[in-house]
Symmetry: C2
């Protein structure tokens, strides 16, 4: 499952730490997601979509 987290975070000009805080997860989680180490849980996917103002389908591609 690919995602556009890193790209969207760059557009916002946020650091990984800032995104982690916005998502209420650890920085390690942001790193792992961006590097495709694993997929987020569904609740976290919703949070990611919310902070970037896009749909889950727009950010994640199976």
């Amino acid at each position: 499952m690919n995602n556009r987290i890193k790209e969207l975070r760059a557009e916002k000009g946020w650091s990984q730490a800032a995104l982690a805080e916005a998502l209420e997860v650890s920085r390690q989680t942001v790193i792992a997601l961006e590097r495709g180490k694993y997929d987020p849980s569904l609740p976290l996917a919703f949070a990611i979509a919310r902070v970037f103002g896009q749909s889950i389908e727009d950010i994640f591609q199976p």
Copy 2:
């Protein structure tokens, strides 16, 4: 996180076993999801959206 899986499955007239097969998961997983025991993984959420022809956001509400 609430979901409309049971309702959508009823509309299709599918048994839990039939849905499980369509999703390529066990029947136990379908039961657990419908009864809100836990949320699906993101890949499974995509599969559920696909078999019902709706968006993830339409099926799951945080």
